[in-house]
């Protein structure tokens, strides 16, 4: 008796286990297999039997499942090939959704999600100096403050400093201007990296007068030195001076100094030691960037508290330079990513996700309609013994196969989209060259396809498999939607319209913002100006006289050319690369200081850029090397320091040195900036102080040439002029000023273009959706139309009836879309310039567009309804 109970229990347990087989298999052989279990259990030991049975299920259940799956997939493809146009439309729709999503994800993945290539990257921080009162948030650090921090900070394991520093490599081959950096010896320890070959810098390399050494980046090592490790220990000529190559740094090193001064988006290739001579440094001179590694277990907040205390103490100690300056800590991950890139990428990800949803909804609607017209086939299969779950499985397999096929096309699309996007993205964006459709991205694309297949297939499958056998067979294959089927299809259209409206509102806001950005007052005239940079090596130009001589000769030579209107040099061109030193301007030594950007420029700078002179004079010959220092201030400096009197003739205290103010000029945009290039167009013009390049000659300068014709045509003449004076000097970063300007708006342009494209695709898909629903509705109601027409209904009224139906759905969708947009668009406000996220005009325009397109999509099928011949319609029934 007991053994019989055990047998029954065991058999029951085994039946449970058999659920791992396809249901059909279970129903067919489950009872037999359970009986077989009982037979064997009588003859064999329990443990051995169960081990055997478990192994059997693990081995054979997947095979049986796969057999059914392959059958269903084959069936699906046979079915799809019977309706090629519908299938192709569905494939294109899914491909657009999955392809777009995957492409945007690949950017987000490379730029935002991948951890930094350093050990324990979450302990890495960047330290900024911060002066909100002078509008200097997250500013560069003064070298002396850095030294003080290294002595005082206990929450940091180590600190390291770096600065951008381009170098001219001469020797074998063409002189080459390379982006580079100066780094402290502690950099390797902070980042946790080792050189690929050779050694890193040591503290003794930083000492003034030490033997000149350099590290080269892996990229340069492979490109220029053929990956030959023997370069370590040899000498190369940088900026005219011999440097011994002591090591090769790995790729990960390029993150240091990316988006750096002078690198203009290129990754640094050459590193030399950053030596700080406390005797020659000015604590108010903010030029370096500082990274640190937190001690294990120290939180970012604790480190922030400590650095805050250190900064407060230093304000007391060094009031002249450190008043109002605090310290700001950000994780290296956050500081590397442009703060505008993150919201922009997230907005795009949301937008493309919505496109994917609309695409799924469209295909779901097609499948729903097809499911309804397939009711007879499904009823037949039910009659032949297929259970509901079997039909569900078949239908879901169909939609998933469709989605995977569409997704595969989408992934191909994504590969091309990614290539296009890489060109469009701002070159200063971190890790842009790592954007690729890699294994992770492919995996995500596949998951998206799978999820889309389930999303669009589940509802139609649930509905279609719920067939009522008798009525379906009686319908002779016509199929009816039934009231609830119509409700589902209509709800899908409403949802699509709502999503499309939201996307269109978002895209329209971004477009408005972008247009306003393009029309912002620059304060100078960028057209017709070409910029180029020349960096004179210290070795050949050790003093001010020789440096000034080179520039004077060059400007004289250029001024003599007929096609040149004016030529000038400056530390930077607006929005272009170059060092942007900051400083504090005061009207008297003890007065309140304001932060301003320093421009060291030649006399023709204002003219070449078309910056208006508001009072006084421009720099000229009287402002020579021996005469008292002069300065020109920008309008905002003038108004804040000398509100009630003319600044001309006043004395300006600039970083503790006195200058006579000789002129006032208009404010210009693009003069400040954190990255390699100038600030964005959306940033207010910064206060600026102009100093004379004759009085303060600099070795690295930007040449600005305004021409009468096409600016690029003058480039060979400029290069020739430089070569005639010094053939060893390369002219680099030769670009039209307009190009630098365009590059600074690359981010909003990218976001606007992409979101606009997504909104258009969404609108198109939603229109196709409403078109499909109405077409279907018309075809289902042919008989009703026939009766109405036979009873005297007018064609126009019939058309209007259907158009009304479609527009009603659209109206509900648009209303929901506008409300959702109203509630969510504020999340996008950081991306908008001079446009309110609630801007009523934008909402009205966007909804009008949606309604207009929807009207067209409704009108076409509705007109077909009016064209029905009543006699034919009635007879066909």
């Amino acid at each position: 008796m007991q053994s019989e109970t055990r047998l029954t229990l065991g058999a029951r347990l085994y039946r449970r286990l058999l659920r791992l087989y396809p249901r059909e298999f279970q129903e067919e052989y489950g009872a037999e297999m359970a009986r077989l279990y009982r037979d064997r259990a009588k003859d064999e030991g329990v443990l051995g039997l169960w081990l055997d049975l478990l192994a059997d299920v693990v081995r054979t259940a997947p095979r049986e499942q796969l057999t059914v799956l392959m059958q269903d997939i084959r069936h699906s493809f046979r079915l799809f090939s019977r309706t090629p146009i519908v299938t192709a439309t569905a494939l294109v729709t899914i491909a657009l959704g999955v392809g777009g999503s995957t492409a945007v994800f690949s950017v987000v993945h490379a730029v935002m999600l991948r951890p930094l290539p350093y050990p324990a990257p979450d302990r890495l921080v960047e330290l900024f100096e911060d002066n909100p009162r002078a509008n200097r948030p997250m500013f560069r650090v003064s070298a002396l403050n850095y030294l003080s921090w290294t002595e005082r900070a206990t929450s940091m394991e180590a600190l390291a400093a770096f600065a951008g520093s381009a170098a001219t490599l001469t020797g074998d081959g063409e002189p080459e201007r390379l982006a580079g950096g100066t780094i402290t010896a502690s950099m390797f320890g902070v980042l946790g990296l080792r050189p690929l070959a050779g050694r890193g810098f040591r503290p003794e390399d930083e000492r003034p007068g030490a033997e000149r050494v350099a590290l080269i980046a892996e990229e340069l090592w492979r490109r220029r030195f053929g990956g030959n490790a023997e370069i370590v220990g040899q000498s190369i000529t940088l900026n005219g001076e011999r440097h011994q190559v002591i090591g090769i740094v790995p790729r990960a090193f390029r993150e240091v100094g990316r988006a750096q001064i002078d690198s203009a988006g290129g990754s640094p290739q050459i590193f030399v030691p950053l030596s700080i001579d406390p005797a020659r440094e000015n604590r108010g001179n903010h030029v370096i960037r500082v990274v640190g590694r937190l001690r294990p277990g120290v939180s970012l907040d604790r480190a922030r508290d400590e650095m805050g205390r250190i900064a407060a103490a230093m304000e007391q100690e060094f009031p002249a330079t450190n008043k109002d300056w605090g310290v700001r800590l950000e994780t290296l991950y956050d500081s590397m990513l442009d703060e505008r890139a993150r919201p922009s990428l997230l907005v795009l990800l949301a937008a493309v996700g919505m496109v994917l949803l609309i695409a799924c909804a469209n295909v779901a609607n097609v499948l729903l309609a097809r499911g309804i017209s397939r009711q007879r086939e499904l009823a037949l299969r039910t009659a032949l013994g297929a259970g509901r779950s079997r039909l569900m499985r078949q239908l879901v397999t169909e939609s998933v196969s469709l989605a995977i096929a569409g997704g595969a096309c989408g992934l191909v699309l994504a590969v091309f989209a990614v290539q296009t996007m890489r060109v469009m993205l701002p070159p200063t964006l971190t890790r842009i060259d790592e954007i690729a459709v890699d294994a992770t991205v492919l995996g995500v694309g596949l998951c998206l396809s799978l999820a889309s297949g389930l999303l669009m297939g589940l509802m139609p499958a649930l509905r279609a498999s719920r067939v009522a056998l008798a009525p379906s067979l009686a319908q002779q294959g016509k199929g009816v939607a039934g009231p609830s089927g119509t409700v589902v299809r209509h709800a899908i259209v409403v949802a699509q319209m709502a999503l499309a409206t939201m996307l269109l509102v978002g895209a329209a806001l971004l477009l408005q913002s972008f247009v306003r950005l393009q029309h912002v007052r620059l304060g100078f005239d960028p057209d017709g100006v070409i910029t180029a940079r020349v960096a004179l090596p210290r070795a050949q130009y050790p003093d001010a006289a020789r440096t000034a001589g080179f520039w004077r000769q060059l400007l004289e030579s250029l001024d003599g050319m007929p096609q040149i209107q004016s030529a000038a040099i400056g530390m930077t061109a607006p929005f272009g690369p170059g060092v942007r030193a900051g400083g504090t301007a005061r009207s008297r030594a003890d007065g309140e200081g304001i932060g301003a950007v320093e421009h060291i420029v030649s006399p023709g700078y204002l003219q070449a850029l078309g910056i208006p002179l508001l009072a006084g004079r421009a720099f000229g010959q009287p402002d020579g090397a021996g005469s008292p220092p002069v300065a020109i201030v920008s309008d905002s400096v003038a108004r804040r320091l000398w509100a009630d009197k003319s600044p001309v003739g006043q004395t300006l205290d600039w970083n503790g040195r006195h200058h006579e103010v000789v002129g006032v000029v208009g404010d210009i945009r693009g003069a400040d900036g954190r990255g390699c290039c100038g600030g964005g167009l959306d940033r207010e013009p910064s206060a600026a102080v102009y100093l004379s390049a004759i009085q303060f000659p600099q070795r690295t300068m930007t040449l600005l040439v305004r021409t009468t014709g096409e600016p690029s045509a003058i480039v060979p003449a400029i290069a020739r002029a430089v070569r005639e004076i010094d053939p060893a000097q390369p002219v680099y970063q030769v670009r039209r000023l307009r190009d630098w300007l365009d590059e600074s708006t690359a981010q909003p342009r990218f976001t606007t273009t992409l979101s606009g494209a997504f909104a258009l695709v969404a609108l198109l898909l939603a229109a196709v959706g409403v078109y499909g629903v109405l077409s279907y509705s018309v075809s289902q109601r042919t008989r009703e139309i026939g009766i109405r027409m036979a009873l005297g209904a007018q064609q126009q009224k019939l058309t209007a009836m259907f158009v009304r139906q479609g527009l009603w759905l659209t109206g509900v969708g648009v209303a929901i879309g506008l409300t959702s947009a109203f509630l969510t668009m504020r999340l996008m406000s950081s991306l908008l310039f001079n446009v309110s996220p609630m801007d009523p005009e934008t909402y009205i325009i966007a909804s009008t567009c949606v309604v207009a397109i929807a009207w067209l999509a409704c009108y076409l099928p509705s007109r077909r309804a009016a064209a029905v011949d009543p006699t034919l319609a009635l007879r066909s029934e």
Partner: protein, 123 residues
Amino acid sequence: MAVMVRRLTGELPRLLPLPQAVFQILVALADQDRHGYAIMQDVAARTNGSLKLSPGTLYGSIKRMLEDGLIVEVDARPGPDEDERRRYYRITHSGRDIAQAEADRLTVLLRQARAVGLTSKRA
């Protein structure tokens, strides 16, 4: 003596070579109709226990063999004592043909192996 390799028609040739389980089931059914457990026992007995068909393999093979028409399910029971509830299977003409073709194929293989001394004494 040369072995005649049987000519198969229709879909049958693509089934060769037969999986071992399928061949053994056909052999088990060659002389009489059997139910699943009986097939299992017969195979085990003939192979001295070295081949034990597991339930998943047995019924997975039976399912495919039914679809391919190598066997059929029969209502008639071979003897009066047999269990009425069990499902019995019978080999079809096609099943017999393909089993013979497989046996021929194996014979040819065996002969080739034997000719070059690749078989043990017992074979």
